[in-house]
């Protein structure tokens, strides 16, 4: 019985954290946030060199052969650093191939995804607000797919899109192909830009076990968003604590005021004990298949709500300055909005958890 990190896992987190501090400190995040380019390809390439792109991919396909816990630990660090880049979509595309790809599909794509040579993303959301596989609408006609998806992360720069289609299946679409149009969306979180994808008789390939993979992709996504949310909320807490120790009002630092102290304590009590929710969701994805679906739903709903509230609290503690574009708090504020809405809002996943828990009168 061990609910803690291995030495390797701690080193993994430290390595990624140090890389970000060096290559993508918050000043760089700000540049990218304000830039037209959706992310810094060099920083992403650096992360790929660290092996992040292929963390889950078996060694025979050129990856590190690690598990969802490891990937979620990385997601926490990326969330803490507000990493601007295509991590999420790439990770989920990789999961789709791992969980539902035929051997040929895996051989073709996994080595390139693992190395970062190819960038993957997913196109799951729809304008109707539907995220759940059984509500997807694009239709297949032989090897062609037609339909419109939205909220696809960094699709504009991707090579491969894993697209959710009618019947809760997944198909592979190459971005350069005919009939594929990718439209940038002005997204709230400029560290993780989103695109709309219009498919008009675009060539595609069905994933061998797409229905299963769709559910695994969703659960992985929920766990990774929960991890990101925990990392982001921790960072907001740390920033608020630091600010309370430096900002002076009425002749003392504002941390002297019990109202501020207690607000910080309440933030901490909301955030800090919730770390295990994403650990458990990721662990269940790896090792407890019966519990994975519910654990990831609970983790995503809870942690993304905590993240959003921490962002509001952090703005409040920062006062007027926290409300400005110049203040770094905004990066996490907007990441919180992303984490909370992407793949469906907390209420959706709470209702799923209730149903999965068999709660009925």
């Amino acid at each position: 019985m061990d609910f803690g990190l291995s030495e390797e896992q701690e080193i993994l987190q430290q390595t990624v954290a140090q890389f970000l501090e060096g290559e993508c400190p918050v000043t760089r995040v700000r540049d990218i946030f304000d830039a037209d380019e959706p992310y810094d390809a060099k920083v992403w390439a650096g992360l790929c060199e660290l092996g992040i792109a292929g963390l889950l991919v078996p060694e025979e396909h050129g990856g590190a052969g690690l598990g969802m816990v490891d990937l979620a630990l990385v997601a926490e660090v990326l969330g803490r650093g507000a990493f601007p880049g295509p991590f999420l979509g790439h990770a989920l595309a990789t999961v789709a191939l791992l969980e539902g790809g035929s051997e040929a599909q895996q051989r073709r794509w996994l080595p390139r995804l693992a190395s970062g040579e190819a960038l993957g993303s997913v196109a799951l959301g729809e304008a109707s607000g539907s995220w759940e596989p059984d509500e997807w609408t694009p239709s297949l006609d032989g090897d062609m797919v037609s339909g419109t998806k939205t909220w696809s992360p960094a699709a504009a720069g991707a090579d491969l899109l894993v697209v959710g289609v009618a019947g809760g299946e997944l198909v592979l679409v190459e971005c350069g192909a005919a009939g594929v149009t990718v439209e940038p969306i002005e997204s709230v979180d400029r560290t993780r830009r989103l695109d709309a994808v219009v498919l008009e008789s675009a060539p595609c390939e069905r994933l061998a076990d797409g229905a299963r993979a769709a559910r695994r992709v969703r659960d992985a996504g929920l766990a990774l968003l929960a991890a990101d949310a925990f990392g982001g909320a921790s960072r907001l807490l740390a920033m608020a604590v630091e600010y309370a120790g430096t900002r002076e009002q009425f002749g003392v630092t504002i941390g002297h005021f019990q109202a501020v102290k207690h607000k910080l304590a309440d933030m901490a009590v909301e955030v800090e004990p919730a770390r295990g929710l994403y650990w458990y969701a990721a662990y269940a994805w790896d090792a407890l298949p019966d519990e994975s679906e519910r654990a990831s739903a609970v983790a995503k709903a809870h942690l993304t709500d905590r993240f959003m509230q921490a962002a509001r609290d952090s703005v409040e503690i920062h006062g007027g300055i926290g409300f400005t574009w110049e203040c770094d708090v905004q990066f996490w504020f907007k990441r919180a909005m992303f984490d909370r809405a992407f793949l469906g809002q907390p209420a959706l996943h709470r209702e799923r958890a209730a149903a999965l828990g068999g709660w009925a009168a």
């Binding site: 959301g125 607000g129 939205t150 909220w151 969306i185 002005e186 997204s187 709230v188 979180d189 989103l194 002076e248 009002q249 009425f250 002749g251 003392v252 002297h256 005021f257 019990q258 109202a259 501020v260 959003m308 509001r312 703005v315 409040e316 006062g319 007027g320 300055i321 926290g322 409300f323 400005t324 574009w325 110049e326 905004q330 504020f333 909005m337 992303f338 909370r340 809405a341 992407f342 809002q345 907390p346 209420a347």
Partner: protein
């Protein structure tokens, strides 16, 4: 208790209506004038009738009416119904003018009030500084009297409308040897001069409704001081009170609540029992705030003190906006993945699309901070409303 108006007031309402029927919209050639000129023309006529600028003496361009909260309410209602231009909004008419009436020199009233209430002179407020938000007494912008001019150096922040303002009313430290409140004066400064630089301050939701104002050897004549040297603190207090009332208006929260119900309908969520419960719970706060406003209006009309509730309007409004924001975020669904529209909505806009609501979600945080943070409000309520002791932390700094 009678929410109807008495016959006398209904008669007054009739007068207002018939004035409006014949006066707005403008007819004939006048209807061809630019909108701003039409509004100015109409306002002048309304002032002559005693319907606008009622608290302002005729000598300063007002209509000099006896205070009557109910008449003012009726005028507000009827002008809104007729979509006629009402009292000039903004920080000049609502904050500077009452301050000048109370503390200004005669020449200041004559010079500044008429153009301000006509909308010909625009003002911004220079109170907050980067280092002093809630703690205004610690402000650092200095003004030194050199000959017949003040020379002002420092920085102001959160200055709404600084780019389009003609003048700023500004708190400056003029008596450096005096501590805290005692050394501050209230100056009127021409914004159109080389010593003043305005830099927009972009906020979280992408809009830029505030500014930083840098004062570098800015100048203003020696007599552009309201009240005496070192009395700026007292002069400014009445203005802050005005601001708090302005922000706390219950009509705004009712308006935004209607928008929220509309949003829930539009997003197909009004059938969700969880959403209905939350909306109905919120409506309790909205209605309470509205009736509390009626009660305070009645007290004002009677010259009675409504008690501590008058200190609470701002915090009530802030709390409501926080609840509205949270519910709206749930209602917009995926809409919160898209960028907000960046406009400064406060609660005045239509909020007809999800992008506007996302903007409002962020904007509600600014409301909580503007005009004194929620924590300062709580101190005021506890100390002035219920006689609790002053903050130990703040006292220990003295």
């Amino acid at each position: 208790m009678d929410l109807r108006y008495s016959e006398e007031y209904e008669a007054f309402r009739g007068e207002v209506r018939s004035f409006l029927a014949s006066s707005w919209p403008l007819q004939g050639d006048e209807a061809e004038l630019p909108a701003v000129e039409q509004a100015a023309l109409f306002r002048q006529r309304a002032i002559e009738q005693g319907y606008l600028a009622r608290a302002i003496p005729r000598s300063y361009g007002g209509s000099q009416q006896d205070p009557d909260v109910l008449k003012a309410t009726i005028i507000g209602e009827e002008f809104a119904r007729a979509r006629a231009p009402g009292e000039m909004r903004g920080i000049g008419p609502s904050m500077l003018v009452p301050t000048l009436l109370e503390h200004g020199a005669e020449w200041q009233k004559e010079r500044f009030i008429p153009p301000t209430i006509k909308g010909e002179m625009h003002w911004c407020q220079g109170y907050s500084e980067p280092g002093s938000g809630s703690d205004l007494a610690s402000l650092k912008t200095r003004a030194e009297l050199q000959g017949d001019e003040w020379r002002i150096n420092g920085q102001k922040i959160w200055t709404t409308g600084a780019q389009i303002s003609d003048f700023m009313f500004c708190l400056c430290r003029t008596e450096p040897e005096q501590s805290k409140h005692a050394g501050i004066s209230y100056l009127l400064i021409d914004m159109k001069q080389p010593g003043i630089e305005v830099k927009p301050l972009r906020q979280l939701n992408g809009g830029a409704d505030f500014n930083e104002v840098f004062l570098t050897d800015a100048r203003t004549p020696a007599d552009h001081i309201v009240g005496k040297r070192g009395e700026g603190w007292i002069v400014s207090r009445s203005t802050l009170e005005h601001e708090r009332n302005m922000i706390g208006d219950a009509r705004q929260t009712k308006f935004i609540f209607k928008g929220l119900v509309r949003l829930a309908k539009q997003m197909g969520r009004l059938d969700d029992p969880a959403v209905r419960q939350r909306l109905a719970e919120l409506e309790g706060y909205i209605a309470a705030h509205e009736y509390s406003g009626y009660r305070q209006l009645t007290c004002a009309a009677r010259g009675e003190d409504p008690g501590p509730v008058s200190l609470m309007n701002k915090l009530v409004s802030t709390n409501i906006q926080g609840m509205v924001a949270k519910l709206s975020l749930d209602l917009v669904g995926d809409g919160s993945l898209a960028a907000p529209d960046g406009s400064a909505r406060g609660m005045f806009q239509g909020l007809r699309d999800t992008s506007g609501w996302v903007s409002q979600y962020m904007w509600s945080l600014g409301i909580a901070i503007a005009g004194g943070t929620a924590n300062i409000q709580r101190n005021v309520i506890a100390e002035r409303g219920y006689g609790l002791p002053r903050d130990a932390a703040a006292q220990s700094s003295k």
